[in-house]
């Protein structure tokens, strides 16, 4: 019997669908890589020293802001200008300090408040579940999972970054307004969407991912959607134009 048009379409559909290649390994959430953007011992040492100096200079012990303590005091940066510097420099100070806090080098990252706690950073794993194409941009679906320990309280609005496979920042976001914390128990999953556009730099080292810098400098780098992923936001401007990156608050 002569195949109908429907049969032909279905045959074609099946033939094309069968050509899909399964990724070699099944997906699993991978432990979160953490570290400061510069990822160097010198950078870490400088940050620690800067925090210590700032604490002494402001006349209060730095131990007040230890990770894991209750986030009872909302951060209020002493500077109104936030730059897009990639490396955190702890120049802001707790709001209860004198109003003469240094503000010549404001940065988007540091605040005195611990933004992940009481669980440790090792309790959290972030991964990109998919990249979505959108109008001139790409949208990363990201999940944050409490993989062990808990409970965790996580600031819902960290500063997003687009990073390459080595964690090098390609697009730096600006710090969003402070939002409420999200409370997560062990096994809970929070999700967000990160929209990235206008990457007009050189060809990056794939796969790309997104990182989240919390107010106290803690940084979580999400696992890429796959090891061979080559998603990159399209450049809609001239070369060298800074890209854009924005995120929704973490939500369960």
């Amino acid at each position: 019997m002569k195949p109908t048009r429907v049969d032909r379409i279905l045959d074609d559909w099946a033939a094309v669908a069968n050509a899909a290649r399964r990724p070699a390994t099944p997906p699993r959430p991978v432990a979160v890589r953490t570290g400061f953007p510069m990822a160097t011992l010198a950078g870490a040492t400088a940050i620690v020293l800067a925090v210590a100096v700032a604490g002494v200079w402001l006349g209060r012990p730095t131990s007040d802001a230890s990770v894991g303590s209750s986030p009872s005091v909302a951060p209020q940066p002493t500077s109104s200008t936030l730059t897009a510097a990639a490396s955190p420099e702890p120049t802001t100070a707790p709001t209860t300090a004198p109003s003469t806090a240094p503000s010549t080098q404001p940065t988007p990252s540091p605040t005195p408040r611990p933004t992940i706690g009481p669980c440790g950073l090792q309790s959290l794993a972030a991964h990109i579940t998919l990249w979505e194409g959108a109008a001139g941009s790409r949208i990363a679906h990201v999940q944050l999972t409490v993989v062990r320990g808990g409970p965790c309280e996580v600031a819902t609005m960290p500063t997003p970054q687009l990073v390459d496979r080595h964690g090098v920042v390609l697009i730096q976001g600006t710090r969003p307004p402070a939002g409420p914390d999200i409370k997560m128990a062990s096994g809970d999953v929070a999700s967000t969407l990160v929209e990235v556009g206008d990457y007009c730099g050189p060809t990056p080292s794939f796969p790309l991912s997104v990182a989240f810098v919390f107010g106290d400098g803690v940084r979580i780098v999400a696992t890429p959607v796959s090891a061979n992923d080559t998603t990159v936001p399209p450049c809609n401007s001239s070369p060298g134009t800074p890209g854009t990156i924005d995120m929704h608050p973490w939500a369960r």
């Binding site: 379409i9 559909w13 094309v16 899909a20 194409g133 679906h141 959607v225």
Partner: protein
């Protein structure tokens, strides 16, 4: 430890055995190559996250397909306002012939609603009964029969 290892083996086996089924289901649902690949991976991530609660003695494919459908529904509800047309032209690997073929067939299948397209593929290609497909798609066998009939009519009528 033994349970964890056996669960891991079961998960990997489910990936090897059913990934193509999940991808084809996602492709039928979305008519978008990239989205289907992403959905299949996301469905397996969900399976991994739920592996401790999954009854591995029972077939896992229905769970994967229902999860894929729910993920697709949630995803498009969230992003529908920001999405442009599907990106299949740039993603069907690097085979020009395959890409061309996919463009033709996806254009034809794009005339159908999501339910019509998925119901047609599941029953005509995957060999599912209307009852089985109805359980996956969250609707009745009668509704699927009607959807498949509409799908065939639309495809036959298209020039």
């Amino acid at each position: 430890m033994a349970i964890a290892e056996s669960t891991e083996i079961a998960y990997e086996r489910a990936y090897e055995v059913h990934w193509t089924d999940v991808f084809r289901f996602a492709l039928a649902w979305t008519n978008d190559w990239t989205a289907a690949q992403d959905l299949a991976q996301d469905a397996y991530l969900r399976l991994w996250n739920h592996r401790a609660r999954v009854d591995w003695t029972r077939p896992v494919l229905p769970w994967l397909l229902v999860t894929t459908r729910r993920l697709a529904t949630d995803r498009f509800r969230t992003l529908s306002r920001r999405l442009l047309s599907p990106t299949h032209a740039e993603t069907v690997d690097a085979d020009p012939a395959l890409r061309s073929r996919w463009l033709d067939v996806s254009a034809a299948m794009g005339q159908l609603s999501t339910l019509e397209r998925t119901a047609l593929v599941m029953t005509a290609l995957e060999g599912a009964t209307y009852e089985e497909a109805g359980q996956i798609l969250g609707t009745t066998a009668g509704a699927l029969r009607a959807a498949v009939s509409r799908a065939r009519t639309k495809l036959e009528a298209a020039s």
